[in-house]
Symmetry: C2
Subunit: 231 residues, 2 copies
DNA sequence: GAAACCAAATCGTCATACTTTTAATCCCGC
DNA sequence: GCGGGATTAAAAGTATGACGATTTGGTTTC
């Protein structure tokens, strides 16, 4: 999943530094400086920079150097960029953005899932709703998190829309993030759990409207909770 | 906006070939072969491949070569990938996916825009609604398209959500695409125009619900029309 | 003071050599 | 024959030196 080799090492240093704002817009790096700093060859530096350039995090210009681009230009949907931003100082803003995105996408995905899910997906969704209930009651947060991620992933997948499905990873990162950074109640809300069961039932029954409504309530709740914690 | 230099030339060849399915999943390229085919050095090939790898269109492995990855792995939100897919054989599927995405995102963005738009944005939106009416009546399709793109871009921008704002380019590509490929009526629908005016008015008045509703109707209409044309 | 020119800095590309990984093959013992 | 471990070769990964191209900024000249 990660980018390999020496360029990967550079990315792992530069990406987070830029995404977190540590290297601010307009900051200039020189290729030679990076070679020395990381003890690698031009080849490696150039390839790493090319990748960052592909994400529009930096632009490389002759006689100028490698300049950090304004945030507005970044490929904010790139999973790496999202992860880097979540890991750094930009986390609150990133969580808010993702919250709004989820609020738009997940209810729509749930509605589509109710129409297009396979039998197997419906089964797995129901099973996960049960697991979710049990791990919540046992206050087993790691297991709960994993089931929650799987649940939302299946809904997105079952929407049969490749773009929604691609947001699985992103939603997973959000859920992981808010648990890791203790932005969640210690014991998951019973109400939220019930809503997950409702989504599963609605998808199984093919009730798009109900699935959409329940999912919207889930994400609205998460977003409200987030805003509470961040203010 | 484009990637520059010789690697850019390679990208412009390989990207569309992969995105269109011409180079199918599992197809293998060798770096040396690409060097010869394009008459460029190793450096250039490697950098182009790195970029494609960053989009997860290909993976490079020792002793094997550069293999085209399954579509499910692609960074389907990358503007380049979207453009490449829209240009090739995958266009219908891409337009459908984007249609669903717009249906989820644009109404939500309109609601946020009604709350957060600046005075200038509200003014420009109203002005564009007028322009839209006039160019539609004059059946000036190129001008109409430009105004339509600008209109949706401003709404997304005014949502004050960086991820929604980033979809400006994508929505623009969709609108351009459906005009170019004659998936639109020759004379824009008067009803759709009125809805654009309604969105503008609602945003100006700060009426989030109304803005969302009108925008949803616009996108639903576009999606319905699209499905009609594609079936 | 302005325009033309020149020089330096920096990335961009090429060619080549060497290293590392890994798939496939060969060969041996059973 | 058949399994399995050593061998080989193919391909990408990395390093390095040389040169080209372009942009910036100062300097000269009128």
């Amino acid at each position: 999943m990660e980018i390999q080799g020496l360029p990967g090492r550079l990315l792992a240093e530069l990406g987070p530094a830029i995404a977190s704002g540590e290297l601010a817009e307009g900051a200039v790096l020189r290729a030679e400086e990076l070679e020395e700093r990381f003890g690698v060859s031009r080849t490696v530096v150039r390839e790493a920079v090319r990748i960052l350039e592909g994400m529009h995090l930096v632009a490389s210009r002759r006689r100028v150097g490698i300049t950090v681009q304004p945030k507005a230009d970044w490929d904010v949907f790139d999973p790496l960029v999202i992860r880097w931003r979540l890991a750094g100082a930009d986390r609150p803003a990133q969580l808010r953005s993702l919250g709004s995105l989820r609020l738009a996408v997940e209810p729509a995905a749930a509605a589509l899932a109710a129409r297009h899910a396979t039998d197997d997906e419906r089964r797995r969704l129901s099973a996960l709703a049960v697991e979710l209930t049990m791990t919540a009651r046992a206050a087993d947060l790691p297991a709960f998190l994993q089931h929650d991620i799987d649940f939302h992933a299946i809904v997105l997948q079952a929407s049969r829309n490749e773009m929604f499905a691609h947001l699985r990873e992103t939603v997973g990162a959000v859920l992981t993030g808010r648990t890791e950074y203790h932005l969640m109640p210690h014991q998951p809300e019973p109400y939220a759990i019930r809503l997950h069961r409702e989504v599963a039932e609605a998808v199984c029954a093919g009730d798009a409207e109900q699935a959409e409504r329940a999912m919207r309530t889930i994400v609205e709740g998460a977003l409200a909770e987030l805003n509470e914690q961040l203010d």
